[in-house]
Amino acid sequence: MLNYTLRRLMFAVPTLLVISFIIFALLDLAPNDPTGNLPLTIPPEVREQIRQTLGLGEPFHIRYLYWLNQFFINEPLNIIERIFGIEIGNSSERLRIRSWATRSPVVDLIIERMPQTLWVVGMSYVVGILIAIPVGIISAYKQYSWFDQIGTFVSMVGFSVPTFFTGVVLIVIFSVQLQWFPSIYDTTLKVTDWSSFWAQVRQMVLPVTVLALYNAAQLSRFVRASMLDNLNQDYVRTARAKGMKERVVLLIHVLRNSLIPVVTVIALGIPTIFSGAIITEQIFRVNGLGQLLIIAIQGADIPLVQTLTFIFAVLIVLFNLIADLVYGILDPRIRYE
């Protein structure tokens, strides 16, 4: 198991390097331009000058090496410094990856976005899972019942209706007509007491609902399929023959086994928490990492896009690894290999 992990980690490094190179090259080739969103009143010569000061004049491979250095050495050092409050070398001289649009270090921007992303997208993922698992269990346990049929129907509809549509529908109903929930997420809200907590909950309701429904739609299918696979296994009969309660049979014996493949699906989905909710974040102005990425792409803020996409790539590779590990932890047959 440990060996396996180390082996996978070892392979991850070259994979990531290749990915980073391709991302870098791709963005370099892409035709959008950081000055594209400036007002046309800024004359072309000035734009050219801006482009030069952004470092676009340097040849590609030099910029790539700079970026690698910044990403793999400087930024980690900064994070270490920040955590431990120490200074390693001349930290003020250290070049950092800076966003072109905000001129601030990319890593700071990303850290700033974390709370709302985790709150909203992460919570929606959690809620999605919490909906999907019981729905999947009941659908499988009562296969072909009306509950199962409706579940299939709803999840297919949920899957086929895009979030830009459901989001606006919810806003029109719950913010405009009923005025129950705000349509705009306030990222400056700090939870200090019950009323601010309540405000936080209220502002999370709509975006979380939209995303959670979408996530639950997909995941519940997985849970159902996996439960069905296991319900027919012999050990279920053994458990019943031991006189275990039906609840125990289902929720301990079957569920634990069914969750093994599901947990890996869940783990593989976690990177999408950090990247996948672009549209919903836009609609409710959650302004998390998704919105940061989309703004960066639209504004051709290449350092920001490079860093974000590369972090996503790292997360994907990492969670692939974690999925395998979780599989091993849950499944003793693999653990003891």
């Binding site: 296994q233 012999d234 050990y235 009969r237 053994t238 458990a239 019943r240 023959a241 031991k242 006189g243 275990m244 309660k245 039906e246 125990v248 014996h253 634990r256 086994n257 093994i260 849950l330 499944d331 003793p332 047959r333 003891y336």
Partner: protein, 330 residues
């Protein structure tokens, strides 16, 4: 002899897309204290369904117990509620299934799986249960039981896994143990080990056992009485010596005949032609009639009931091997 279990006229059907499958068509038998009853018959003859019906272990739907009584300790098991039967399962009747590879839950330690019924039915606490689980593992002959108790099923060999399954079934000192082909998936040498173990346990614990098998050799070696099933019916029932010495039903005879041991190498084996019945309707005639060489008109019109031949030997057949003609019935 004291009867611990009495089954009468048990019928189980499956409701499927293609119609109702009559898997068990009114079987009756009884089980005495401390006795080993073997149930033999070919695949699909309803052995497993019958035994699982006793314990309501079949998925319902599609299965349904159409009629019958299963008297066990003055209770009709068929009429018990789902929580009522739960207190019988595992606690007073243990069950061992065929495939030791799949009948243990792969993600829990064997200890956990043995302790589960102990805590559920006997109200033991964790420590007591664990103690008892180790004892049980020792009883079924697993070396270093206190160490192996925290292992997972996949760390055990097939024979050891089957021992664990037996240990689970024995956990709460059941009155009756039902074993559904517990050695079919095992090697001969391991099968011998398990059979030895069971002989041993019978002596020590003295419980009644129903042993499903399709290996007549196993039945011969272990049973006190044998039931032969065909098409969801009991076609013959006799003490073991009697059955092998004096088989009455053509099916039993054919079965014994098909065994290679009774032929010389240059002889062709005798096989039973044709297919087992489809069970799409309740049998109105003898289900074996289409494959039977001795069948005559009555066989195709009337389904024989079990008739006593002599002593505890019963057979359901219109044909009499003694006279090689119709049986003399009232």
């Amino acid at each position: 002899m004291v009867q611990v279990l009495e089954v009468s006229d048990l019928k189980t059907v499956f409701q499927t897309h293609d119609g109702v499958i009559h898997a068990v068509n009114g079987i009756s038998f009884s089980l005495d204290e401390g006795e080993l009853l073997a149930v033999v018959g070919e695949s699909g003859s309803g052995k497993s369904v019958a035994m699982m019906s006793l314990m309501q272990l079949l998925p319902m739907p599609p299965a349904r117990i159409a009629s019958g009584r299963v008297m066990f300790q003055n209770q009709d098991l068929v009429k018990l509620s789902s929580s009522g039967i739960r207190h019988v399962r595992g606690a007073r009747i243990g069950f061992v299934f065929q495939d030791p590879m799949t009948s243990l839950n792969p993600v829990f330690t064997v200890g956990y799986q043995i302790m589960e019924p102990l805590r559920e039915h006997m109200g033991l606490n964790r420590k007591q249960a664990r103690q008892r689980a180790i004892e049980l593992l020792e009883i079924v002959g697993i070396p270093a039981a206190s160490k192996r108790i925290d292992d997972y099923p996949h760390q055990f060999s097939g024979g050891m896994r089957q021992r664990v399954v037996i240990a689970i079934a024995l956990a709460c000192d059941p009155k009756v143990l039902i074993a559904d082909e517990p050695t079919t998936a095992l090697d001969v040498t391991v099968q011998a080990q398990i059979l030895e173990l069971v002989r041993d346990l019978r002596q020590k614990l003295g419980m009644a056992i129903i042993w499903i098998t399709h290996d007549l050799g196993v039945a011969a070696g272990i049973a006190d009485r044998v039931i032969v099933m065909y098409g969801g019916l009991v076609v013959e029932h006799a003490p073991v010596q009697e059955l092998f010495a004096n088989p009455q039903h053509p099916y039993t005879r054919a079965l014994l005949d098909s065994l290679p041991g009774r032929h010389t190498a240059d002889e062709r084996l005798r096989s039973i032609g044709g297919q087992p019945p489809l069970l799409l309707a309740e049998p109105s005639s003898c289900p074996f009639a289409p494959r039977c060489t001795h069948a005559f008109d009555r066989c195709r019109q009337q389904n024989p009931r079990l008739m006593n031949v002599e002593g505890r030997h019963e057979v359901a057949c219109w044909w009499d091997p003694e006279t090689r003609g119709p049986r003399d019935v009232g």
